[in-house]
């Protein structure tokens, strides 16, 4: 049975100044909202954050930016955030941009004990600077190393006390790989389940990757509300 945190504040005590953390989500979808809020209140500083995006100015990881808690950001797209831009231009924030598929694979590799792999993405681009290029069967590939974190914060729809997680729709995104790549992984779940309630064939993250859970109600802000009108 996993540790059941009594609050998000207790959970984020695993994170210290200078920790490297991974935070699940694509845009604002699938982010562990309450763990991020607790991390803001914890006021830990000098974080290295690995996440596909960096939230928006007033939500998600944007809140950590606003409180200047991030020293370095590793992601693939950070264009939704004015404060991000300001801090980068002011030299307050280091940013390492990685192609999205490479980022996903680097995180998977980290969790899977693969120290490095080759990928075609980024060959001949600024991403290749300082990276080994190697030819396999006539095509050039870049060497990319795995990524791990001290703590991973993920969000799931359901989680049981064994740490098994199921994600909802496109809120899955980076969460499963990050769950595996964190030395400590904390899952914020919308619904807690008892062991055996979740279908064993339908688990997205097996419980071995999760060290603790906390239940949390989600706001789920929408970035680009797009609808069809009835004809």
């Amino acid at each position: 049975m996993k540790h059941m945190y009594t609050s998000c504040h207790e959970a984020v005590k695993e994170i210290h100044d200078h920790s490297t953390i991974m935070v699940g989500g694509f845009g604002l979808v699938g982010i562990p909202e309450n763990l991020i809020l607790a991390l803001v209140e914890s006021n830990v500083k000098h974080l290295t954050v690995i996440s596909n995006n960096c939230g928006v100015d007033d939500w998600g990881l944007g809140l950590l930016l606003k409180h200047k808690q991030i020293d370095k950001m590793i992601g693939s797209y950070v264009g939704e955030n004015k404060e991000f831009e300001r801090q980068v231009l002011a030299g307050e924030l280091e940013v390492e941009l990685t192609p999205q598929g490479t980022l996903a694979e680097k995180i998977r590799a980290g969790g899977a004990g693969i120290p490095a792999f080759y990928t075609p993405a980024g060959v001949g681009t600024p991403i290749a600077d300082g990276k080994e290029v190697r030819n396999f069967d006539g095509t050039d590939y870049l060497l990319q190393e795995g990524l791990t974190a001290d703590v991973s914060l993920v969000r799931a729809l359901k989680g049981d006390r064994h740490g098994n997680l199921i994600y909802n729709k496109t809120a899955r995104n980076f969460n499963p790989m990050m769950a595996a790549a964190g030395a400590v992984t904390i899952a914020e779940v919308e619904e807690l389940a008892e062991p055996g309630e979740l279908p064993a064939d339908g688990i997205h993250t097996p419980g071995i990757y999760v060290q603790g859970l906390i239940e949390g109600k989600q706001e789920k802000r929408i970035e680009r509300y797009t609808v069809s009108t009835h004809a």
Binding site: F26, Q100, T119, P120, K169, P176, I222
Partner: protein, 224 residues
Amino acid sequence: MAVKMDKAATRELITRRAEQEIESGFYVNLGIGMPTMVANYIQPEKDVVLQSENGLLGIGRSPYEDEVDPDLINAGKETVTAAPGAAYCDSAESFAMIRGEHLDLAILGGMEVAENGDLANWMIPGKMIKGMGGAMDIVHGSKKVVIIMDHVNKHGDPKILKACKLPLTGKGVVDRIITDRAVMDVTEAGLVLVEIVEGWSVEEIKASTEAELIISDELLEISQ
């Protein structure tokens, strides 16, 4: 004789032509922005599966208001629905599909394309860098990469060049370019002009293209 069209008409012209690249049975990734609009023109008799790199194989139409699920978005972060027979997956699996060349076609936007198929579409030095998102993976993974964009930039300068000036997204990755003036294929011999939009002359296309153009023997005209 140059052709004047407003922005909406230009976009419709380009996206309708891009739709013709999609064959029934195809798995397709549409980039953010204008490429996403191509979905609006896919002929209903075509059996097409749209992939969204954030983990959805089988994008449906936009939701009605009462169907909106904040956990269901496309790569452009717009709320969408899932088509019947859709499958969700994580980002590593999604890019495994892409990198592993399981997609038949990707339609993406471009800032510059070179005659050798180099593509630049992610950063302008000196401006804030927002990131490449999934573009660098997608250009390597798809069996065919089609770039759709205006033929010239807002200053009237060519975007189809002998060599890209902007930092690349991918080297030698583009198969076809569709613009508001023409369709061009990247071939071993060079860049071949294969279609021309009604109202434009070959000379006008050449004049607005920095890259060397080979004129196809079977040059077609696209009616507006």
